[in-house]
């Protein structure tokens, strides 16, 4: 146990960038333009470098922030998601006249909260990190103040988020009442040693924490907020919250349940099993019926939460590594997909209905091709990232003997291919409806283009040469659990 500040360096970099963005915005004279986005990129890159440097050292700071490889892997994923998000943002900010300084500050604060959530080893700190990221994301959801849908989405998200936070907190309180500590190691020791009594209390503590996490990762039946929030928010923000929030929440989910509540897996595995099945099925089935691309991707992201839960239920080394790998694959792919949607938005209409995409191939072949790659990866086609992720997850399930889960997973994946292909078909083979103005051809800013390119490369890289990252993921879980 080395007391040092090292483990919080990535966090500090992002926070510093966020503070700088805020101060810059405060001292900006009205109308002045400031390079706030590059500021954020610098902070994130610094955080990324710090992450790489910290890899393998296992520093612990303040006794509550762990720079272990598990946390750092997720930090890395979050940094990538953050970089892509910020790269896609300027176009949206410009078009929607969003308050730029606040937008970047909140995004960076949210990333800081996510990183902290992935690294924290104390339930209280996890809770605080969760709140930092949630509050930022609630505001980002409603940041288009002139849009009624955005305000409503923001409120619904806030309401259910705050509600679930209360459940989560109550879970922490019961854990504290049982063990006298909120520190995961200590809780884990005490639970393993069974130095206290009531089984019912344990069940409640675990159950309430699970509900709290399930809300954040949008697992069925706690998913109600997701489609609305995703639809109401600007697409960039949607991509950010569909991936970043999920990655952070899953990281904490895995850490809490595997380390502290590992000995109680008899209680939570069946619950998560049920959640996983419901989430995969509902996400897929309802997704098929959507006509709005953002809602469709929302349900797709719900279904993906189901696959991630499968990895958790497997509760073996492969499963945990699979969750990490999947978070990366899914994160990059989904941010890319929403990035394309963000670039397609135009001032007068959101272009997020399925039929809006008709004939995209003719207008912007590049964007259409990239979108196809992302969608196919989400659907789990080889040789793309999503395929490896799913394969990895289902392997874990089979290894642990959860054949049912694996079968349901494969089946829902097959069904989900249908709705991803529907978009692809729309883009390539359908003519725009007569009487509807054709899709305008937005200019792709250089930064966003680079980000899209990067995302595509990562998607292919993970799909074709996954071994390196699989090794990293396996390594990082091996050391702590």
């Amino acid at each position: 146990m080395l007391f040092s500040m090292n483990a919080i360096v990535p966090l500090a970099c992002v926070t510093a960038a966020a503070l700088a963005a805020m101060v810059a915005e405060a001292f900006r004279t009205p109308g002045e333009r400031m390079p706030i986005a590059p500021l954020g990129l610098i902070g994130l890159v610094a955080a990324g470098i710090a992450t790489v440097l910290l890899w393998g050292h296992g520093y612990v700071s303040f006794n509550v922030v762990a720079g272990d490889d598990f946390g750092l892997f997720v930090t890395g994923v979050l940094v990538v998601i953050g970089l892509l998000t910020i790269a896609f943002s300027p176009a949206t900010i410009e078009r929607e006249q969003l308050p730029a300084g606040e937008y970047y500050a909140l995004t960076l604060f949210a990333i800081a909260g996510m990183i902290l959530m992935a690294q924290a080893t104390d339930l209280l700190v996890i809770f605080l990190a969760l709140e930092v990221l949630s509050l930022s994301v609630y505001v980002l959801t409603g940041i288009r103040r002139d849009s009624r849908a955005a305000s409503e989405a923001s409120f619904k998200y806030f309401l259910l988020g705050a509600f679930s936070s209360a459940f989560f907190l109550y879970g922490i309180a019961l854990t504290y009442a049982l063990t006298g500590s909120t520190h995961l190691d200590r809780v884990g020791q005490l639970i393993a040693g069974h130095t206290f009594g009531s089984g019912a209390m344990e069940t409640f503590a675990v159950g309430l924490l699970a509900v709290g996490f399930a809300f954040k990762v949008s697992a069925v039946p706690f998913h109600m907020w997701a489609p609305d929030a995703y639809e109401g928010a600007p697409p960039v923000v949607t991509g950010f919250m569909a991936t970043g929030v999920k990655a952070a929440a899953f990281a904490a989910f895995v850490r809490v349940f595997m380390s502290a509540f590992g000995p109680l897996s008899a209680i939570w595995v069946p619950v998560l099993w049920g959640l996983a099945v419901a989430t995969m099925i509902l996400g897929t089935v309802v997704g098929v019926m959507q006509t709005n691309v953002k809602r469709l991707l929302a349900y797709s992201s719900i279904a993906h939460a189901g696959y991630l839960l499968v990895g958790m239920v497997s509760a073996n080394a492969v499963g945990r590594a699979a969750v990490l790998f999947y978070l990366l694959a899914y994160g990059v792919t989904n941010v890319g997909a929403f990035g394309v949607l963000a670039l397609l938005e135009s001032k007068d209409r959101p272009n997020d209905e399925l039929r809006d995409l008709a004939g995209l191939w003719n207008v912007r072949p590049g964007l259409a091709a990239l979108m196809t790659v992302f969608l196919l990866s989400l659907g789990g086609f080889p040789p793309l990232a999503g395929f490896i992720g799913k394969w990895f997850i289902f392997t874990a399930a089979i290894q642990s003997g959860y054949y049912g889960l694996a079968i349901i997973g494969v089946l829902t994946s097959v069904v989900s291919v249908f709705f991803y292909l529907r978009i692809v078909v729309m883009m390539y083979m359908t003519e725009p409806e007569p009487g509807r103005a054709p899709l305008s051809a937005p200019i792709v800013p250089r930064l966003a283009g680079a980000a899209l390119g990067l995302a595509t490369i990562v998607v292919f890289y993970l799909g074709i040469l996954p071994t390196q990252l699989i090794d990293l993921a396996t390594q990082s879980v091996a050391r702590i659990f």
Binding site: E152, F155, L159, Y170, I172, A177, S181, M224, D228
Partner: protein
């Protein structure tokens, strides 16, 4: 001395009252107040448990929970104000442009 379990039961009852409020009320302000009730119920658990352990942690955690409650209230009410610019009602069912 009152045993811990009674405090825990009391806080459970309060928590459920808060939960109930979120479900049955339609006035946005009252829903937010219900969430405050829930957080307060949790605080009681922390303080009571901390007392039972003779530890200081319970009281400190309550401090943090209050901070969170304050931050949530500030943002939540700001969202209500933003929402109110678009709608004149505070009834969440009146917001129909997004489906549940």
């Amino acid at each position: 001395m009152v045993p811990l379990s009674q405090y825990l039961i009391l806080s459970a009852i309060l928590f459920v009252i808060g939960t109930l409020g979120v479900f049955v009320r339609r006035n946005l302000i009252t829903i937010l107040l219900s969430i405050e009730i829930m957080l307060n119920a949790v605080n009681l658990t922390f303080v009571a448990a901390g007392r039972a352990f003779g530890a200081v942690d319970g009281q400190i955690i309550v401090f943090f929970v209050m901070t969170v409650a304050a931050a949530e209230a500030a943002v939540g009410l700001a969202i209500v104000i933003a929402l109110f610019r678009h709608r004149e009602s505070l009834d969440p069912d009146a917001f129909t442009s997004l489906k549940w």
